[in-house]
Symmetry: C2
C-alpha cells in the first residue's frame, strides 16, 4: 500500500499540457475562479486525467508556481547577463533590461501575475513559497553590488536599491497600466525610462 495514492509519473506530454493550461488560467483568472474542468478542457484532456497526474487542485497550483517560478527566474538571470554586464551606458542598459523583462516575459507581466497569485493564495501554499517572488530582486541586488564596486552606482544596501529599482519601474508601470498587455511597447516605455532616470538620480555617481 503506497502512501500517496501513486500519482502518475507521466512520460507523455499530457503532463505539460495540463501544466501550461493551468498556468494560463491560474495566472489570468486566479485560483478560485479557475475550475479544474476548465483546465482539463483547455488541455484537451479528461478531468480524470488531471486528477491522475496531480492529486488535487492545490497540488496542481504548487506545480504551476514551481515551473513558472523556475522559468521566470531563468529568464531574469539570462536577461541580467545579457543586458547588465559591462554596460557602456548605464541608463540605456537599465532601460533595455527593464523593457526586455516587461515584454520578453512571455505575454503580459507574468512575473507580477505570479506574484499576485502567490500573495493571494497563502492558505493554499506551504510556507516559504513566497520566496520565489523575491529571487529577481536578489539577482538584481548582486549586479548592483558589482556596479557599486565598479564606481557606477552609489549604494549602501544593494537589496534595498533593487527593491527601489523594481518599484520605480515595474511597480509604477503595473499600477498605472493595470497589467494591460505589456506588449504595447509605447505605453510601458515612458514609465520605465522615467523610473530608471529617477533611480539614477538617487543612486547614480555624479
Amino acid at each position: 500500500m503506497s502512501s500517496t495514492k501513486a500519482l502518475r509519473e507521466g512520460s507523455t506530454g499530457k503532463r505539460t499540457a495540463i501544466l501550461s493550461a493551468a498556468r494560463e488560467l491560474f495566472l489570468a483568472n486566479g485560483f478560485d475562479r479557475t475550475s479544474v474542468d476548465a483546465v482539463a478542457a483547455r488541455a484537451e484532456v479528461s478531468k480524470r486525467t488531471v486528477y491522475d497526474y496531480f492529486g488535487d487542485k492545490h497540488t496542481l497550483l504548487r506545480a504551476v508556481i514551481d515551473t513558472v517560478g523556475q522559468s521566470l527566474i531563468a529568464t531574469i538571470r539570462r536577461t541580467i547577463d545579457d543586458n547588465l554586464t559591462d554596460p557602456s551606458d548605464l541608463e540605456d542598459a537599465l532601460v533595455a533590461f527593464s523593457m526586455r523583462i516587461a515584454t520578453d516575459m512571455f505575454d503580459s507581466a507574468e512575473y507580477t501575475a505570479l506574484r499576485r497569485l502567490v500573495r493571494s493564495e497563502p492558505d493554499n501554499l506551504p510556507r516559504g513559497y513566497n520566496t520565489i517572488a523575491d529571487v529577481p530582486e536578489e539577482a538584481l541586488a548582486e549586479r548592483f553590488t558589482a556596479f557599486a564596486a565598479a564606481g557606477l552606482l552609489d549604494i549602501q544596501d544593494a537589496r534595498l536599491a533593487a527593491d527601489h529599482f523594481v518599484a520605480l519601474t515595474f511597480g509604477v508601470a503595473l499600477t498605472r497600466l493595470g497589467s494591460a498587455n505589456a506588449t504595447e511597447d509605447t505605453r510601458v516605455r515612458p514609465f520605465i525610462v522615467e523610473g530608471v532616470r529617477t533611480f539614477l538620480r538617487a543612486y547614480g555617481t555624479r
Copy 2:
C-alpha cells in the same frame, strides 16, 4: 411597478453595520471568499436583511468600494493637510505623513487592500471604478507642485513624482511585508524612511 425592486433606504444603523462588516471581510479575504452569510453573521443581521438593503452581492461590493474609497480619500487629504503644510523639515514631514497613512489608516494597509480588491474584480465592477485608486496620488501630486514652486523639490511631472513616491514607500513596504498588520511600527518604518530618503535624493533640491 418600480423598476428596481425597491431596495430599502434604511434610516437605521443596519445599513452601516452591514457595510462595515462587508468592508472588513471583503478587504481581508476578497470578494469570492466572502459569503453573504458571513457578512450577515458579522453584521448581526439576518441574511434576508442584507438582500433587502442591497440587491445582490455585487451591489454590496460596489457600495463598499464607494464608502471605503470616499473615507480613504478623506483620510489622505486630511493627513496631507496635517503633515505637509509648511513643513520645517521636508524629510521628517514626508516620513511622518507616510507613517500616518500606513498606520492611521484604520488597521492594516486598507488602501492597498482596496486597490487589490478593485483590481482583482474587474468583472464585478462597472468601468471607471478603478479611478478611485488613483485619487491619493493626485492629491499628493498637487502638494508636490506646491513644494516645487516653493523651491523645496525639483520636479517636472508632479503626478509622476507622486507615483514614484508612493512606489518607493508604500509599494516597497507592501511587497516586502506582504500586507502584514502595518500597526507594527518597527517593521514598516525603515522602509518608509529609506523610501523617503531615496525620493529626496532623486527629487530634492541640493
